[in-house]
């Protein structure tokens, strides 16, 4: 899976939980998942579970806690895939 695939999948997964659809039009690596997309913080666990299923990896609680932006998620997935 190349970088673009990882980015697109991360955006697709996170978008499912966005409460502010207008923010999806201007999504970029610095987009904050909670503050910009208005994702309910309780849904972060679902997002992490989706990452694990989609990318076939295991994410620790500490790593999951560090995900704040789309870019953080992409970086984490890349690091765990390598």
């Amino acid at each position: 899976m190349n970088n673009e695939d990882i980015y697109n999948n991360v955006v697709r997964i996170v978008s499912k939980h966005a409460k502010d659809p207008s923010a999806l039009n201007s999504i970029h690596p610095d987009t904050h998942i909670l503050n910009d997309l208005k994702v309910n913080s309780a849904r972060l666990v679902d997002i992490v579970l989706d990452f694990e299923d989609t990318f076939d990896l295991e994410i620790s609680d500490d790593d999951a806690d560090r995900i704040a932006t789309i870019g953080d998620a992409v970086k984490l997935v890349k690091a765990l895939k390598n």
């Binding site: 309910n40 309780a42 849904r43 666990v45 679902d46 992490v48 579970l49 694990e52 806690d65």
Partner: protein
């Protein structure tokens, strides 16, 4: 110990407040309490994990009053459940802080750091493993929809079940007859409907299992909610 001794005087004051100043009544309280008594007699020394729906700011107080006999709590104060109130709502005055201290509370800051939330979780999880009962609201806060809201489900409750499989997990539904949506407290003189069911969770390891356990609890809460509506409340 301090809370236990003080419960003997502050317990009746709280009941007086609920019964004679707010005029709350609960038609099925006696049955609910009897079933709780039978459950704890059948499973002595196992703490309760009370998972309830959430519509008013005094739900914890109502739950404790309606679920437990005063005598049971005096004898076994460990059944008086620990609560996790939001600091911004319940920690802003000395009176509230004192009441929360006496009422076994661990404050949570919803907007706090991940580390602070994890510390709160560790504290209550530790208390539960020591044999103390807990009361948590799996929706995280008062339901904005007026009914159970799966979208708001917090999987921390599943994590608590994993952390202490000895807990007796109870799904509790509590609602005033005139409670259309969330509010500060039930309407003055409202009849409070309450019912509970034990949730026999299938416990496994991992994050996915936390979600599954939480959803099992939501299933039970939804059954109770249907029962509430079916009884013409």
């Amino acid at each position: 110990m301090v809370g236990h001794l003080n419960f003997i005087w502050f317990g009746p004051i709280l009941v007086f407040f609920l019964k004679f100043l707010r005029f709350y009544r609960s038609p099925n309280r006696a049955v609910v309490r009897r079933r709780i008594r039978e459950l704890v007699e059948k499973h002595p020394r196992r703490p309760l994990l009370i998972c309830a729906n959430h519509l008013t700011m005094i739900d914890s107080l109502l739950l404790t009053w309606l679920l437990f006999d005063f005598r049971l709590l005096v004898k076994h104060f460990s059944y008086f459940p620990w609560n996790v109130p939001e600091l911004a709502n319940f920690g802003q005055s000395y009176i509230m802080r004192s009441l929360c201290y006496l009422g076994k509370c661990v404050y949570l800051e919803r907007a706090g750091s991940v580390a602070s939330k994890r510390l709160v979780w560790e504290k209550i999880s530790y208390l539960n493993r020591l044999g103390e009962s807990l009361c948590v609201f799996p929706e995280g806060g008062r339901s904005r929809t007026g009914n159970l809201d799966r979208e708001a489900a917090m999987y921390g409750v599943g994590q608590l079940v994993q952390s202490n499989p000895r807990s007796l997990v109870l799904a509790v539904y509590l609602r005033g007859k005139n409670q259309k949506t969330y509010g500060f407290w039930p309407r003055l003189g409202d009849k409070i409907w309450i019912d509970w069911t034990e949730v026999k969770c299938e416990i496994a390891e991992g994050r996915k299992a936390q979600r599954d356990i939480t959803m099992q609890i939501f299933d039970s809460l939804e059954d109770l909610e249907r029962k509430y509506h079916a009884t013409g409340q």
